[in-house]
């Protein structure tokens, strides 16, 4: 029987290795896999490349990984927010590398990795500093920049409900980067609020089919160490 449900956040991230690239879903305060991030922090893998829209605010979530100096590089569109103190401190020290990517290009590069597309031509950023050094092409009179697929070793994502096959549905705007990231990593781990019986999720409304998901951990299961 296919059963992708794991019994603890800690065990679900225990395979993350030093130097891994880790996608983390979420946007603003919405759709972050906070318990998986905390489990990753406690796991303590170092030299990580984090791929996420933001670079964390305050002391929690992604910021906690930065605070513990586990992150060598961050790939994101909007690192600087009110409260992004750990990112700003490490950036000033030269202790973290930043790859700044326009948000739509970030999402599309992640989708491309999941879809087997090697690269694509986007008009976004054409003629700007963020296209410097990149291949360009004029197609039907319009300028485009070549961007390549962005895969990862691990994706930590957040959904609302799952089943044992790994099918996922989300809550409102909590989707954000989670569905494309689910497709783009060698190992996809989903944090969910609850697990339903196989067949209870409406097949017309499943956003992430289970084929993209390797492990599911639900809130209320054995949590991370306090």
């Amino acid at each position: 029987m296919i059963n992708k449900v794991w019994d603890s956040f800690a065990s679900a991230v225990a395979d993350v290795k030093d130097g891994d690239s880790v996608m983390i879903g979420g946007f603003g305060s919405s759709g972050f896999p906070l318990q998986l991030i905390e489990a990753l922090r406690q796991h303590g893998a170092r030299d990580l490349t984090v791929i996420s829209n933001n670079a964390g605010v305050g002391d929690e979530g992604i910021a906690s990984l930065l605070k513990d100096r586990l992150v060598r590089k961050i790939v994101c569109s909007f690192p600087r927010s009110a409260g992004s103190v750990w990112f700003e401190r490490l950036y000033e020290e030269g202790a973290i590398e930043l790859e700044l990517v326009p948000q739509g290009t970030l999402a599309e590069r992640i989708r491309a990795a999941g879809a087997g597309i090697g690269g694509f031509y986007t008009p976004t950023g054409y003629g700007t500093r963020l296209a410097e050094g990149k291949e360009t092409k004029v197609i039907n009179g319009r300028g485009y920049v070549l961007e390549t697929a962005l895969p990862a070793d691990v994706a930590l994502i957040k959904a609302q409900r799952a089943d044992a096959w790994g099918n996922l549905i989300y809550n409102t705007a909590g989707r954000n980067f989670n569905p494309p990231m689910a497709t783009a990593a060698a190992l996809t781990v989903a944090e969910v609020e609850r697990v339903d019986a196989v067949g209870d999720l409406d097949p017309e409304c499943i956003v992430t089919p289970g084929i993209f998901v390797d492990r599911v951990v639900a809130h209320g299961m054995k949590g991370v160490a306090e």
Binding site: S30, S77, G104, A107, P123, T124, N178
Partner: protein
């Protein structure tokens, strides 16, 4: 005379057509929604994955996941829909939005937009969805103060801040005037209050064309 930010937003709102799909940038652009008249139905997109963004929820009614691009709690109108970021930016980049209203640091007479970075390299940059919106929306309106706090022009022959997009802005709404970006150059569309052409020209770093009569 200079309009207050809310008054500029009100002026932009007059030009948003009934039935339009619109993305409002963070900050002053977000205020525009407050002034669209009730006889027009406008569908707002939020880049994090919402079409049909509604007003702020009543206190205690917030859905923690339901925020707009500015991280404010919002609601969904009946008829709205959710989607992920790859789909949201496909929608933006693919030319499906009728209009984006964006803030700006600088705009050039060719419609070049600079709204994501200054020349201060010690400060870490952030770009978000600005570049995608700039190239994707069918029309880009800019809403901003005409000059910097120290009185320097923000409308220039060419931007000296890094570009967000080249030749993307269609119209500029400031506290002094409304300007159209045309093939001939920047043309005054409206002077606010008793402002004269010469007064506005003096605070603009590019040559203006007078309003068409």
């Amino acid at each position: 005379m200079r309009l207050k930010p809310a008054e500029i937003a009100e002026r932009v709102a007059q030009d948003i057509p009934d039935g339009a799909y619109v993305n409002l940038g963070i900050g002053m652009p977000t205020m525009v929604a407050n002034y669209v008249s009730d006889d027009r139905q406008v569908i707002y997109q939020s880049e994090n994955g919402i079409l049909g963004v509604g007003p702020a929820p009543a206190p205690g009614e917030e859905d923690p996941d339901l925020i707009n691009a500015g991280k404010q709690f919002v609601t969904l109108l009946p008829g709205g829909a959710y989607f992920d970021n790859a789909e949201s930016f496909a929608m933006m980049r693919g030319g499906h939005l009728d209009l984006a209203v964006l803030g700006a640091f600088q705009v050039s007479e060719k419609g070049d937009l600079a709204n994501w970075a200054t020349n201060n390299d010690t400060y870490p940059p952030a770009v978000g969805g600005a570049m995608d919106l700039a190239v994707g929306a069918k029309q880009v309106f800019v809403i901003m103060s005409h000059t910097t706090k120290s009185g320097e022009p923000k409308i220039l022959e060419s931007c000296n801040y890094p570009l967000t997009g080249a030749a993307v802005v269609k119209r500029i709404y400031t506290d002094l005037a409304v300007l159209d970006v045309t093939d001939q150059g920047l043309r005054v569309r409206q002077l606010h209050g008793d402002n004269t052409f010469d007064e506005v020209q003096a605070l603009t770093g590019a040559t203006l064309l007078p309003a068409l009569s």
